[in-house]
Amino acid sequence: MRSLVMRRTWMAVSLWTALLALAGSPMVARAQSAVRGQTLFESRCTACHSLDANRVGPALQTVVGRKAGTARDYEYSPALAGAKHRWNRQMLLAWLTDPETVVPGQRMGLQVEGAADREDIVAFLTAKGAGRTTSE
């Protein structure tokens, strides 16, 4: 009987230890960042962008990993149509910081001021595009 109680206690302690470790893990942090990023995306980006449709701006679901200026059926500015880079985390963070420094002559007039906000928006876009092919 005592052995059973000790075993259950040990299992409970182990479980809580694992949960606490998980709570501080990078994986959970990324998930939390993506959740916050969704709120920011809906607040800051959806005037022009949707995930799965071209509107004033191009669809963004598969932007991570996509070559710049290649969203299918979207009419880009000449500047962005001629860009050579691919959208990875660093490029997207730089873009959200100041689009004009990344691609001079582009058309997006908005910037995201906070570094944490930029990180979360990119985390959200990364999560939304995971496992999907780009629309080149």
Partner: protein, 201 residues
């Protein structure tokens, strides 16, 4: 033309004070020329030098938003899903966006640019997933989301402005859209925002 050109007139600082301000050419800003044109003061706009290509790009993005809003209300009005009183308000809001559109087109042309063209209604319907609208609530929810996006877009460019006059123009446009959003959410029976400073956050 009864439009935002008139709405915004009479509030812009004297041209000499605007011309002195070194805010032209920054990303996310319009030039003093654009401010003057939006304010309906052609004489003030003439003779100013500015990097108008940046201004034109931003003005055309704004025009694209207005085209989309006009067509969204058109889809709602033509859906047969709106009750008479709600339909009247939707048409009124659409007329506001048409006034914005006309002012933007005039400004872009005066700056020597080419206004971005309106797409076909079917293209807006596809992008906005109009085929999923089932009732009046769906239509109003779509309109509210678009208006909220426009509010945040206008508020979002304010920090980039070097000109207090331009910031005021953007703020007044945001106020226009906020009026629309407030009426729409009230009609939807939704609660007030949970706290202060909810817009532009």
């Amino acid at each position: 033309m009864t439009s935002i050109v008139q709405t915004l007139s009479g509030t812009t600082a004297p041209s000499s004070s605007i011309a002195r301000r070194a805010f032209m050419g920054r990303t996310g800003t319009l030039s003093a020329v654009a401010v003057a044109l939006l304010a309906g003061q052609d004489a003030m706009a003439q003779g100013m030098s500015a990097d108008t290509s940046k201004d034109l790009g931003i003005l055309n993005v704004a025009l694209g938003l207005e085209h989309e809003a006009i067509n969204a209300y058109q889809l709602g009005a033509g859906s047969g899903l709106l009750q008479k009183g709600v339909l009247d308000v939707a048409v009124r809001f659409q007329s506001d966006h048409k006034a914005h559109r006309d002012a933007l087109i005039t400004t872009i042309q005066k700056l020597g640019g080419t206004p971005v063209m309106e797409k076909k209604l079917e293209e807006y319907a596809k992008a906005l997933k109009a085929d999923t609208l089932r009732n009046q609530t769906d239509v109003l929810d779509l309109a509210a989301r678009l208006e909220l996006g426009a509010i945040n877009a206008y508020l979002g460019v304010i920090p980039a402005f070097g000109s207090k006059d331009l910031a005021k123009v953007a703020a007044r446009l945001a106020a226009d859209e906020t009026m629309h959003f407030t009426v729409l959410t009230s009609t939807l029976g939704r609660p007030l925002p949970a706290g202060a400073l909810s817009f532009g956050a």
